[in-house]
């Protein structure tokens, strides 16, 4: 499955190995891991809870992966996103893109992360010394996703 939502942690080596199995035409493996930091928006963060919208999450991630396949020549691509309760330094999300060439694998990896950040229905709630709070979306994430759209001036 090219997209998975799970509470368990993941291992990047095992995921890449499974993705590459039986393929000898892969020249480039680009990957990204999003990790929980212990600090955000001026506060220490001791715990993170990730909520999602089952059904829509998988569908939106699949659409993002499909769109990446349409833009670049990828042999395969994978998204694993965790939900539930996490602690600092925990892995949150993994994206892997396989291609014959590095430019396409790296671009696809950046693209998938940018769209995931603005389109996939996940929400983060942080526990800080001041109490719990929902993470606010960032304008910079909208800007990052916008650069892939036609007509973007950059």
């Amino acid at each position: 499955m090219p997209v998975r939502v799970q509470t368990e942690d993941f291992d990047i080596s095992a995921e890449i190995l499974a993705l590459r199995a039986g393929r000898s035409d892969v020249g480039a493996v680009a990957s990204f891991i999003g990790v929980m930091r212990d600090f955000n928006e001026g506060s220490g963060v001791t715990e993170l809870t990730l909520e999602h919208y089952p059904g829509m999450t998988e569908k939106s991630l699949q659409q993002i992966v499909d769109e990446a396949h349409g833009r670049w020549r990828l042999q395969d691509a994978l998204v694993v996103h965790r939900v539930g309760c996490m602690r600092p330094a925990d892995q949150i999300v993994l994206v892997v893109a396989l291609s014959a060439h590095r430019e396409e694998a790296l671009a696809a990896c950046a693209f998938i992360m940018d769209f995931l950040k603005t389109r996939a229905p996940f929400w983060k709630k942080e526990r800080t010394p001041e109490g719990e709070r929902w993470v606010e979306s960032r304008a910079s994430d909208d800007a990052a996703a916008g650069r892939w759209l036609p007509g973007d001036p950059r």
Partner: protein
């Protein structure tokens, strides 16, 4: 005109779910409510947290049957309509 007695399932997520104190509800679309935008305005008219959370100045996203939807999307009987804040995954 929408079909008489069109029913939708409404789902709320994250901050909205907590602030509104509701996770889901089944709603017979009231007269004059045929699109996502009209539905949002009708829900805001419930007052209290509904008014403040769904105010036109607040960033609210809606999805119909698991696809993000603009304010003009028409609703049909049996639709699953989700209402939530901007996403913050990754």
């Amino acid at each position: 005109m929408i079909a008489p007695m069109a029913t939708v399932d409404l789902l709320y997520f994250a901050r909205l779910r907590e602030a509104l104190g509701i996770e889901r509800e089944r709603l017979v679309l009231p007269e004059g409510v045929a699109t996502t935008g009209e539905l949002r305005a009708w829900l805001a008219a419930r007052g209290g947290a509904w008014a403040s959370e769904l105010d036109a100045r607040r960033q609210v996203r809606m999805a119909v049957n698991h696809d993000l939807a603009g304010a003009g999307q028409r609703l049909s009987d049996g639709d699953e309509v989700a209402v939530f804040p901007p996403v913050t995954g990754g």
